[in-house]
Amino acid sequence: MTFLATLRLAAQALLRNRVRSILTMLGIIIGVAAVIVTVGIGVGARNSVQAQINSLGSNMLIVMPGSLNQGGVRTGNGGASTLTPADGMAIAQLPGVAAVSPEVNSRTQVVANGNNWQTTVTGVAPTFQFIRSWPVASGSFFTQSDVDSASKVAVLGQTVVQNLFPTTSPVGQTVLIGNVPYTVVGVLSSKGQSGVGQDQDDTVLIPYTASLERMTGQTNVGMLLVSATDSSQTDAVQTQITGLLEQRHRIVAGRPDDFQIRNLQDIAATASQTGNILAVLLAGIASVSLLVGGIGIMNIMLVSVTERTREIGLRMAVGARNSVILRQFLIEATVLATAGGAIGALLGGLATIGVSMTAGWATSIPPASVALAIGFSALVGIFFGYAPARRASQLNPIEALRFE
């Protein structure tokens, strides 16, 4: 007897008892659906965390001023005013460093077009757009020669554009920043919220030299953004920058540094570790629910074998080999489990879409996890179907035929 013929027999037997078949599958259906929903939400959450980290900039390190000890009084981090554009240029020469941009922040009122708006005016270098992976939407970014000559040019963020130029294109227009007229050369593309909910588009970028000259009147920068050539290089680059800056700032060995370096790879690693814990947790839920579903299948199959004793006796009498009976019941259990897994995956997928639409969460179901869930369901069916199938195949046909 062929496998296909046995499969057809099993399918017929299951269809003859539709309600029971569906009830038997319910455990697996709910288990797999729950797994798919949690995987969908979990993977979606991990992806959006990853995307947020990437939106900060790829392979980025941030060099910040550290604490300063003035006559025993220590300022907090950022209190030191020792980080300079020259430090940035020195760092740019290090191997493994792709680009460096100073960042000088100040909050001020920006006026244009009869509107005014308080925003963060940030002095940066043209490399900023590469480091932060933040291209312009229209116009162009200012150039190194703008930086060299401290030109009065500005690139506006989307939020600033909406508030100052709600109807017209800002490129080529003039904005007053601290009463100094700047020409708008470009508009940044939208970046959205940062990981901590800050509107990254509420900004105006100008050459850092212009910022130092006209806004802060100082020579030190707020921070240095450094991009490593490769994510595997960030730790090495961090060590080199530490060495370089200790040397440049003449930090005596054993004394605390007047700067600190934040490595975004650390944050990314933490995030992916969180993701891994989540994955282990999901696998735990999955195995428990599939185990429960499998026990349900075994239970119902044992009942089914007892209830169908006469039928089994008859099948044997008309010529079914023991192995065919074994195979038929094994296939019945496997079909139940696999179909349950498939239905569960479908319902789980629909529920995930529902969650994503009502709660507005980003979700994503990897196809591999669907295949894994269904495949595992099939294994559960084979495993838990074996004992009932074996019992059926070992029945004595004469006693089975007499069974009441």
Partner: protein
């Protein structure tokens, strides 16, 4: 010609806790092709045990059994199953049709296990149903049929593989007089018109009277074995 069934000194013991029950105690019998044999006897006479052994559902403790010339004790369990599927037909007192399965699908069942092609299967099953006069209920399920109709479906199922022998275990035991008569008339017609060999187990003399030969069992032995030509003639 080789007899369909040939048993010599057939013995069947059932071991109990402290003793052994001898259900068959040295039975010799031979059934030729085309015979219609009724096996009679009271409960415990060994007639059911005999039928189970002849039907290859059970193995004897001692003696020889040749089915269509083949020594059965040499066959494996799978060979026995295959022989049942290809050479034997069964009719039971309780019909034993699959519920929620149409008549024609029930008749197909032995061919499913014999590995017959699905299209040939359907055609042969419909033909067998026609032979028992039930072609019009082919797509009805057992619970929509009367007892007599169900038993005739079971008979169609038993003959669909063109078996060398049909075994019927109290086939009229659950039927009323009229249906019993119909079923027995059908058996007789199949035997006479198509030459099908039938072994029927019953304890009712008027059912056994339809057969051409009546073998009576008592205490595991054959008490009498007589041709019933005269009785049969009287019935006609």
């Amino acid at each position: 010609m080789t007899p369909v069934v040939k048993v010599n000194n057939l013995v069947k013991d059932y071991p109990m806790v402290d003793h052994t029950v001898r259900a068959l105690d040295g039975v010799d019998l031979s059934i030729e092709s085309g015979e219609f044999v009724a096996v009679m006897g009271p409960s415990g006479s060994g007639k059911s045990t005999f039928m189970h052994i002849v039907g290859l559902l059970d193995r004897p403790t001692g003696g020889n059994y040749q089915f269509e010339g083949r020594e059965v004790s040499a066959l494996s369990t799978d060979d026995l199953a295959d022989t049942r599927s290809q050479r034997l037909g069964f009719v039971f007192q309780a019909y034993n049709l699959l519920s929620r399965t149409t008549a024609v699908e029930n008749v197909e069942l032995p061919m499913v296990y014999a590995g017959v092609d699905p299209q040939l299967r359907r055609a042969a099953a419909l033909e067998a149903l026609g032979l028992v006069g039930l072609a019009h209920v082919a797509n009805h399920q057992p619970n929509q049929l009367s007892g007599g109709q169900q038993q005739r479906v079971a008979i169609a199922r038993s003959l669909v593989n063109n078996p060398g022998l049909i075994l019927a275990d109290e086939p009229t035991g659950a039927l009323d007089t009229k249906s019993s008569e119909d079923v027995m008339a059908l058996f007789r017609r199949l035997n006479e018109e198509r030459g099908i060999t039938i072994l029927l187990v019953t304890h009712e003399p008027d059912v056994a009277a339809h057969a051409k030969r009546i073998v009576t069992f008592r205490d595991g032995k054959i008490l009498s074995d007589r041709r019933a030509e005269s009785q049969e003639a009287a019935l006609r």
